[in-house]
């Protein structure tokens, strides 16, 4: 045990740990889903969890076959010029502008980015 704890061995070990950690960091970047640019990236930037949005969006799309992404994005974009994303979601709840994803009741402002994310992922 004493022989292993030389200054030289400690430095080699520390260097190795840095390499391993760096490799893991790169691997996680590579494993993270890569999302191609979309015309709606300004709206999708509101979403913290893109994968969840895609999952919800796919369910919403299945019930909204005629979803017009461009128009929906325009409407939401126009709303967000005058209010925040959070306020838009609150306003939807206040006025009953709700969508259902297999029964999950969401404000429209939360649902539209999901639809856009799912559409972009198709």
């Amino acid at each position: 045990m004493k022989d292993l704890l030389t200054r030289r061995n400690i430095l080699i070990g520390a260097g190795g740990a840095v390499v391993v950690a760096g490799g893991a960091f790169e691997a996680s970047r590579l494993l993270r889903a890569h999302h191609a640019p979309t015309p709606y990236d300004d709206l999708l930037a509101q979403i913290e969890d893109r994968d969840s949005a895609i999952e919800v969006g796919k369910v919403l799309l299945a019930d909204a076959g005629d979803f017009d992404a461009k128009s929906a994005a325009q409407v939401l974009r126009a709303r967000l010029r005058n209010t925040t994303f959070t306020q838009a979601a609150n306003d939807d709840a206040a006025h009953g502008r709700l969508l259902e994803a297999q029964g999950w009741v969401l404000p429209e402002a939360a649902a539209v980015p999901c639809l856009l994310a799912a559409k972009a992922a198709m």
């Binding site: 509101q46 979403i47 369910v59 994303f85 959070t86 709840a93 709700l98 994803a101 009741v105 404000p107």
Partner: protein, 499 residues
Amino acid sequence: VSAFIDARTVPEGTELQTDLVIIGGGPAGISLALALANAPFRVMLLESGGMTFEPRTQALYNGTKTGVSYLGLQASRMRYLGGSTNVWGGWSRPMDRLDFEQRSWMPHSGWPFGLEAIEPYYPRAQALCEAGPWNYEKAENWSPEQGAMIALGDGGVVNRWFQFSQMRNSYLPTHFGLRYADDLKRVRNLAVYLHANVTRLGLAHGGGKLDQIAVATLDGRHFTVKSRFTVLASGAIETARLMLASNDVMPTGVGNQNDVVGRYFADHPIPRNIATLVMFDGKVPPYYLGNQGMQGAVMRAGLFPSEKYRRTRAVLDSSITIESPTILDALGKAAVSVTANALGVNAGNAAAFTLGGGCEVTPDPDCRIALGGERDALGMPVVTLNMRLADSDLAQFRGTLKELGRQLLLSRTGMIRLNMKNRSDWLAGLDWGNHHMGTTRASADPKKGVVDANLKVHGIADLYVVGSAVYPTYGAVNPTLSIVAMALRLADHLKGQMR
């Protein structure tokens, strides 16, 4: 103190006389008998069973069913002293003012009296049910150490409270037969007959009043009762059965000149796991999830559509309860994530719960008790039930659940998943409240109802009905407390009639 009389000891062919006979020893009959204690007239209570469950007697309740899947007709009710309180859950809550009103959006609605007619009797009814002090909505935010009530955004669903019956502070709800047997024995003007099955309401010639009541026991004895007044307090199925089967003078049965007896049968649908509730902070106070002792009562919070919401949105009454924790699937987790993100709240501790509940149904004349071809051990026709449940009623309940979801989003406290989409979803998880109602509905119009505002049978001078059989509409709360209140009101009316 006088002992109960076993009808099997009454000599064959005896004719008993009294001033008032109550048929049925459930919560309505017992409450009525107790309320008439020491009145200046004689009262008789006829109970089919004894003091405990007896299979042969219970089998007299057997019947057949068609239509929507429903409980066995021998279930839900108990044919011995105490009646259905021998199996009730103790849930208590008064009806709302709107429950009594004629509602333009609800066919066949409207009682011949309002809440104000029974409101004065609720405190005594609450005492008889041993449901504690009259807390209900006064209980709001009484239990801060257990957490504040669920914050709901402005809208149609509100927090409300149930209270629970507790027999002498035990864990059991009050079983009226067991609890009040000694009190009944102490009533000097009352004679209680056990094992006394009424098999016929004998109308006098012309059909305008009763002449005599035929009684039989399962061991083959028969006797009759002559009484100035008669009250049927035997539940919505048995009351209709007895009136329909007593067809020797009036071919359509007693009080059935307009073909209303037995129609409009109803129960509260209790579909299970109707929705999933997610609270973003993971917290639901324990008084939503189960009964809690609070301010001298046992209470549980629930979520109800307000009267204003029901009125303005033209929807049926309902009640929603939070049942138990559940686990979210991947879509549920994703929906919570994106919704909390949009609302700007942290859902890191989010937790999910199943929702249960019950709803009012629209009165349906074709949901009906009728007589079948078979006969029971006493020779009485066995009943058949055609049970129905309208999609539109279920859709209204779903709409109320969605309103709850909207309010949770608005308050940024949580969200909801609606688990029922189509009729097969609803029917798959369907249970019932065990609340038989409506077969001798009250109405000022003899063509639309069987009893009038005083619960007297239209066209018959001396016959009354009490119990949830008289409900023309059904609300969404458990009926026992209101049944008792209506029995106490009837007692006052009968005292006036006897003068």
